[in-house]
Assembly symmetry: C2
Homo-oligomer: 297 residues x 2
């Protein structure tokens, strides 16, 4: 049976990626900046409508969104962005207007990182695994996890970007850039934190710059804590900062040092890897989630 034609959105704080298709080998995507909600939602609807004219009816809609967001299907505000600090976007119904414009098709709404984790499991670097974590290190830091084959949800979605980790002020006097917590993981290790600490675009820092040593240590602290909590089979690290490929061996080394033999990791090289879908994990994850919604219905 041919996979269903579905719509997918990776809704980020700076850009939206919308796609229509059936698989990683058969989809069309468009990318546009995240503007005010009404405008952005209109752009998405226009794209989907034009693709429906070409390709036929969209059967379901999958959205992986920035947050905090209401990802509980039983909630009245399922599909909403909730208390985000992002201007104009606090308490905005993102999903339902788009879904309604598409003849009320079934919708699945989750965080961008949960969608990315799901995409990597379906078609990327986590295929066949039932327990793994996807982390993006970019402007902010976020994480999504799959536990026992399902996306991890509790009372809400995880907020792994804001973990508290040890910090040695004598080695790093930077106070942290998180408006909520100062020196949480995101406050110390996001692209924004790096930019503020070193007063430059982190991508311009040379490979041997001390910035990367510090960055690797902070990320290893986070991975250490997540390892002890979730016991995942693999970490997939994506996002702009992780384009710095020198970080991968450094993080593996630093994590191993922190574990100090307490638990066994068979192969660090396959334990910490880049995404298999490069920057498409999120939108393809949303696409996979939408297709599975049809199978379940």
């Amino acid at each position: 049976m041919e996979a269903a034609l579905v719509g997918a959105i990776e809704a980020g704080g700076t850009k939206f990626v919308c796609a229509v298709g059936r698989s990683p080998g058969d989809f069309e995507a468009v990318r546009f900046p995240t503007l005010r909600p009404e405008e952005t939602i209109s752009h998405a609807i226009d794209f989907f409508k034009s693709k429906e004219t070409e390709r036929g009816e969209i059967q379901a809609l999958g959205i992986g969104s920035f947050g905090p967001a209401d990802v509980n299907p039983k909630s009245k505000k399922y599909g909403w962005i909730t208390n985000t600090p992002k201007e104009n976007w606090s308490h905005i119904d993102l999903g339902n207007p788009i879904r309604e414009a598409l003849s009320g098709v079934p919708m699945v709404f989750d965080t961008d990182v949960n969608a990315a984790a799901w995409g990597e499991g379906k078609w990327g670097a986590a295929q066949g695994l039932k327990n793994y974590v996807y982390i993006t290190v970019g402007t902010g830091i976020g994480g999504g996890a799959v536990v026992n084959g399902n996306i991890l949800h509790g009372i809400s979605h995880p907020e792994m970007g804001h973990l508290r980790i040890p910090k040695d002020h004598s080695k790093d006097p930077f106070p942290g850039s998180c408006p909520f917590h100062g020196d949480c993981l995101e406050g110390l290790a996001s692209g924004t934190a790096m930019r503020n600490r070193w007063n430059t675009d982190p991508a311009t820092l040379p490979v041997e710059h001390e910035a990367w040593k510090l960055e690797s240590g902070y990320l290893a602290d986070a991975l250490y804590n997540l390892t002890l909590t979730l016991a995942p089979q693999r970490f997939i690290l994506g996002g702009g900062v992780m384009e710095q490929k020198q970080l991968f061996p450094m993080i593996r080394h630093d994590l191993n040092e922190r574990i100090a033999g307490y638990i066994e990791i068979d192969d660090l090289d396959t334990f910490i890897v880049p995404p298999g879908l490069s920057s498409r994990s999120g939108v393809l994850g949303a696409l996979a989630l939408a297709q599975e919604l049809i199978t379940k219905h």
Copy 2:
């Protein structure tokens, strides 16, 4: 239908609790010190055999054990203690000799804290919840989690006791007591750490002693990280140190301060609670797991 008669063990590093019964209202337990493996295993078998003579055949065996342990039912070493620093107990088959002595009944083997979490969900302070965490703060610190209604297992079991958390050396010069990691959570906040830091039995420290403020902060750091990772509906805090009931309001306060409004917790008083089964969570959880094994078979 009457619940099945099962055997249960809470296997701790200092004591074993063995029980035979059908429910929290109908079970008999015995407690003895953890000696060398052969001796300890013999004691357990003797107890179960004598109870079988009185009450009839035991239908299944549930064990909640100290660790690290092999809790993967598909593993050849399922039921074994693995690389524990506890003398004589490294790489010891704990479960199978007992199971075999009981006519080869079905066995479920998990960590003591996972069993305790399960017991609290069945009959204690987490009834009706699908996402929660049980933490014991005693000689060591350990945690077990239920996610989406199932005990959280990944590549192995969690080791939440060894989380890395921020530490301010100017406020707490104690280097930490964990032989693996120094100043991880267990190294800073276990009963052992408190005893070493203050050179006294922590139970003798007055309620207003600064020790409790420090302790509350470290535990709040751990709960904060677990909240952001697992998004649980509730934390159940047990173990000897948590007998100090003044800690509960302090931890609630410190956790709320750390969250800094970033996520919403409806009611801190029901978010962080003591066990509903007092010190019986572990053995009753093992009993519940054993009974469910029969239902599944």
